[in-house]
């Protein structure tokens, strides 16, 4: 575990805790709405991986852009997608951040630097370098971040995207969330390298392996990589070792994973552990934390209330927004 030095602004540390807690509670609420058959479609939840999205995104500005995956909820909240607009999107209302045309797997909001999540595994790995290419050509100092899983590193897009980003020295950070399973397939069965980070050397990209359950460790690694990108030194890769506490999708009980493994990772749950460290380091009192948490829970409840009461869109509006 990394040191919780006070070189990091207290407001940043608290913000990260709030974001992680928000993701966790949001996901739990959404799951319960699905159990009650209230929401349409499906979800691929981020429970357990919160520290990665939050640690990375805490380093980003509004106009830095991220690409995401079929598991985008954590990235979206970390990047700043408004909870109300997110909930409205899941409820398939026109006020949703994607106009009810995206849903869970395409969640995003360009206003906060997130293009609609790309649900094709590896899809963002060729698009993020494109975002970065624009930033480089326009000389704006913006950066792009591509989130992907260890399974995606076997897609052709990974190899083409990293190679191109490297040779063009693009301001992009590739973040691999290695949660050990691609749906049900353990990564060791499909991947002949010890770490995904080991692949970066093939593209002359510097890589760092980080404890994905430690938001401060993720934050520190991301800070370096993003500063590298912003200063024109090119792409980096971060491999965060992490674990999803939930199944692949909402119907998946994940019986392909040993119970002991899940229990072991749950002990490393980033949220209560970070809370303990914040309190231990006198950055916040238990009472203050509880107030923050209650506020977040309330915000989520209000978002559900808001979204649920919006009118449904017209079916024929589905014909709009194909062409500009």
């Amino acid at each position: 575990m990394s040191k919780l030095d006070l070189d990091i602004d207290k407001s940043k540390l608290l913000n990260m805790y709030k974001k992680m807690f928000m993701i966790r509670k949001f996901e739990e609420k959404v799951y319960s709405l699905f159990l009650q058959s209230i929401l349409p479609g499906t979800i691929h939840q981020y429970i357990g991986q919160e520290a990665v999205a939050v640690g990375i995104c805490e380093n980003l500005n509004n106009n830095d852009f991220i690409t995401s995956t079929h598991r985008p909820h954590g990235h979206a909240i970390a990047k700043g997608v408004e909870i109300k607009k997110f909930m409205a999107e899941l409820f398939a209302k026109a006020e949703g951040c994607c106009g009810a045309r995206g849903g869970s797997m395409h969640i995003g909001d360009p206003d906060v630097g997130m293009i609609p999540a790309i649900a094709i595994v590896g899809g963002g790995l060729t698009v993020a370098p494109g975002l970065a290419l624009a930033f480089k050509m326009m000389k704006t100092k913006q950066v792009a971040v591509a989130f992907f899983g260890e399974g995606a590193s076997n897609e052709g897009a990974f190899h083409e995207g990293l190679n191109f980003a490297s040779v063009q020295k693009l301001p992009v950070l590739f973040v691999c969330e290695n949660n050990l399973y691609a749906v049900s397939t353990p990564w060791r069965q499909t991947t002949p390298v010890e770490n995904i980070a080991d692949r970066a050397v093939s593209y002359s990209i510097p890589a760092e392996i980080v404890d994905g359950m430690d938001v401060v460790a993720v934050y520190r690694a991301a800070k370096k990589a993003i500063e590298r990108a912003r200063s024109g030194k090119g792409p980096s890769l971060i491999e965060a070792k992490t674990y999803r506490f939930c199944g692949h999708g909402r119907f998946d009980p994940a019986h392909y994973r040993p119970k002991e493994e899940l229990e072991a990772w749950k002990k490393m749950d980033s949220i209560p552990n970070f809370a303990t460290r914040l309190i231990k380091n006198n950055l916040v009192s238990k009472q203050e934390l509880t107030e923050l948490e209650d506020g977040i829970i309330k915000e989520i409840e209000e978002a559900v209330e808001y979204a649920q009461n919006l009118p449904d869109p017209k079916g024929q509006d589905g014909l709009l927004y194909v062409y500009a």
Binding site: C98, P116, G130, M137, G161, Q168, Y321, A324
Partner: protein, 352 residues
Amino acid sequence: MIESVQKTDNSRKLTIVEATREGIREEMMRDDRVFIIGEDVGISPGGIGGSFAIFLGLSDEFGHDRVIDTPISEKAIIGACVGAAMMGLRPIAEFQYSDFAFCAMDELINEAPKMRYMSGGKLKVPMVVRAPVGSYKRGAQHSQTPDTYFCHTPGWKIAVPSNAYDAKGIIKTAVRDDNPVFIFEHKLLYGSKGPLKREVPGGIDLTCYVPEEEYLIPFGKAVIRREGTDVTIVATQLVLYWAMSAAERIEREEGISCEIIDPVTLVPLDIETILKSVSKTNRVIIAHEDTLSFGWGAEVAALIADEGFSYLDAPIKRVCSSDVPMPFSPIMEKYVLPNEERLYKEIKNLAT
């Protein structure tokens, strides 16, 4: 041989390659956000300006930051276009052969034409992709005319220029369009000239007068290349010229008068012009170099059967390539491809 559109100032008689290059150059001068990306597009000196010399000289003029040479990475090229276009730039990408588009199908089908829609209209993707089509003895993987795959994908606009005048206007319109536009150019119509002669044997001299003045070609506006009364023919690119040749011969030999329509763009499709023509002739042939089954010709046939049913005095006919991978053998290739002879026979069958 087909007559040029106009014969005036000889220095303004351009090939499709030259006209396209001129259009690109004008757009790059007009708008700093326009850039070129692809394989072998900017290497200089001694470079080739892309697979058919379209981009020749542009990297010398605009620099290598705006004419980007990439690795052999079609997915990365198209992904880069999608990303850069969403951030406000206006890329022009090239596939060296349209057959290579299939290397990037995820980016072409799942990302480029869907990002706007999935964002609820917040994003736009103003990118242009160009690719050469057509068969000339290079075998099955360098011979396809795959425009139909992209016609079928909502979100793309598809242009199929048949001459130099259109080629320049089309690429200018495409660059200014805020949507993904795919331009398919026929290899045998290029007629490239200049220091790197990429003349393709069997190609047609299609130099025609191209104005220096600014002009755009509107999408969704078909052009009647030949007026007639007995049979309507809708055809693109090389097959269009076989149709023109067959029409000229059959008028002379049999007195049958054909009206020939060049769609110019397949998406958007100007079905009104086609229907108006069929209402006059009552007979129609649709001809394209892509394989017959499930091609765009089937779409036009369905539209005519639906919206122009009462106009028809005969079944709708299609003259296209056989449903096979393109063979190498010149004799087999000739058999598979639509040609002037087959069109002539089909017109005669239909009209008599």
